[in-house]
């Protein structure tokens, strides 16, 4: 395994983390935010 391979794996993991974090923030954030707003108005 070369340094280029390590860089490639790092890039691959970084993309994977983005694909995991973006939906997580959107889903958890939406449930929390709408729940919060819902309680504020009711």
């Amino acid at each position: 395994m070369t340094l280029a391979d390590l860089v490639l794996i790092t890039k691959k993991i970084a993309i994977g983390i983005l694909i995991f974090l973006i939906p997580l923030v959107i889903i958890a954030g939406s449930i929390w935010l709408i729940h919060f707003l819902f309680n504020q108005h009711h």
Binding site: D5, I9, K12, I19, I22, I31, W32, F38, H42
Partner: protein, 363 residues
């Protein structure tokens, strides 16, 4: 950056913005239903009974499906496929070893490890968030989890085809020159270890959506396994007249052998194969929404990769930790990034090294 690459990047960005709306859609609909019905399920949650419990029989079915149930189904279907000669003479020792290792390793080592360490680590990262969404009604939880898990897998899968730097991590799944139970789990270990949707599902389970996750996981496993099967169980839906309307909806909603086999075809020249699309795993609807799907109701005549060099099973499993010794292979040291895009020059008397020309649009 070439024009094609720029266009592709713009398409990916546009589609990912649409995806953000799709992730929020079931959540918005859930709160809309609360608004209309006047219900507030979070008020009923107590410390003794935070999470919704699925009926006991559902719990048993899906628990078993995720442990020994699905492997048992795969083994039985695989035996039927094998006994009627569906693998013909393509299941060589090398392919067989790779398929079996890929079948066993993620199930008994990787996925349990990710789930175990994920649920051990999360209390430290999100200490106050455990079961925060346990009040979400079971069926709404299923809608949220189904979109969360499968749309995330759609993107993970699509980017491994459309970003050249990721292609070789997914190549192993496409190198099988056959369809069937044997190749369903066939993946490079790094591709499997960093499956984004597994981490998303583990985190949402920690947040209280465990039962919906279990249910969705079970259904998804059945659909994706059935879509990889060499038994063309969907054919009657296209050929029997009264089943046509069901077939029309089914092929747009979920992955079927026809649409998923097209994704594993070795060519797009016949108008049936679509290895540059049909990325959906459980749901095919993502391909319909993003315009990456083709529905022909036909099955490719050949599967795999045109440039497959029958690389060693360990190289396919563990690349780039171990490389292939096959000259010109994508998995070899200094091999092309995307073999499909290599321009092969006519061979002169003294052949120069074949240049690997990689375009942004990968396999």
């Amino acid at each position: 950056m070439t024009t094609t690459a720029k266009t592709q990047t713009q398409v990916i960005l546009k589609d990912s913005l649409i995806s953000l709306l799709l992730y929020v859609l079931p959540i918005g609909l859930m709160f809309l239903s609360f608004y209309i019905s006047g219900s507030k399920p979070w008020l009923n949650a107590t410390s003794e009974h935070l999470s919704f419990r699925a009926p006991a029989f559902l719990d048993a079915v899906f628990n078993n499906l995720k442990t020994w149930g699905l492997p048992a189904i795969m083994l039985v279907v695989g035996l039927i496929e094998f006994s009627v000669g569906l693998y013909e003479n393509k299941w060589t020792k090398n392919e067989r070893t790779l398929d079996i290792v890929c079948f066993i390793l993620p199930k008994i080592v990787l996925r349990p490890m990710i789930a175990y360490f994920g649920l051990k680590l999360l209390p430290f990262v999100l200490p106050d968030a455990k079961n925060a969404f346990a009040w979400v009604p079971f069926w709404w939880g299923i809608a949220i989890m189904a979109v969360a898990d499968d749309l995330t897998q759609y993107w993970y899968h699509r980017l491994h085809h459309q970003l050249p730097l990721l292609w070789r991590f997914h190549r192993t799944h496409h190198s099988a020159p056959y369809m069937g139970m044997a190749m369903t789990s066939r993946q490079n270990i790094i591709y499997t270890a960093f499956f984004s949707q597994i981490y998303l599902t583990v985190t949402l389970t920690y947040l209280g959506l465990g039962y919906p996750a279990l249910f969705v996981g079970g259904i998804k496993s059945l659909i994706t396994t059935a879509a990889h099967s060499s038994i063309k169980w969907d054919k009657p839906f296209y050929t029997i007249r009264w089943l046509n309307p069901i077939g029309w909806i089914m092929e747009r909603l979920i992955s079927t052998p026809a649409t998923h086999h097209a994704h594993h075809a070795d060519t797009t020249d016949d108008g049936i194969g679509n290895y540059k699309g049909n990325f959906g795993n459980m749901f095919f609807i993502w391909d319909i929404i993003f315009g990456t799907g083709i529905i022909t109701r036909q099955y490719p005549s050949a599967y795999g990769l045109k440039h497959y060099k029958e690389e060693e099973w360990y190289a396919q499993l563990l690349w780039p930790i171990f490389k292939s010794k096959k000259e010109g292979s994508e998995l070899a040291h200094n091999g092309p990034v995307v073999g499909d895009e290599v321009t092969e020059e006519p061979v002169p008397v003294v052949a120069p090294p074949v240049a690997a020309i990689v375009h942004a649009e990968a396999v």
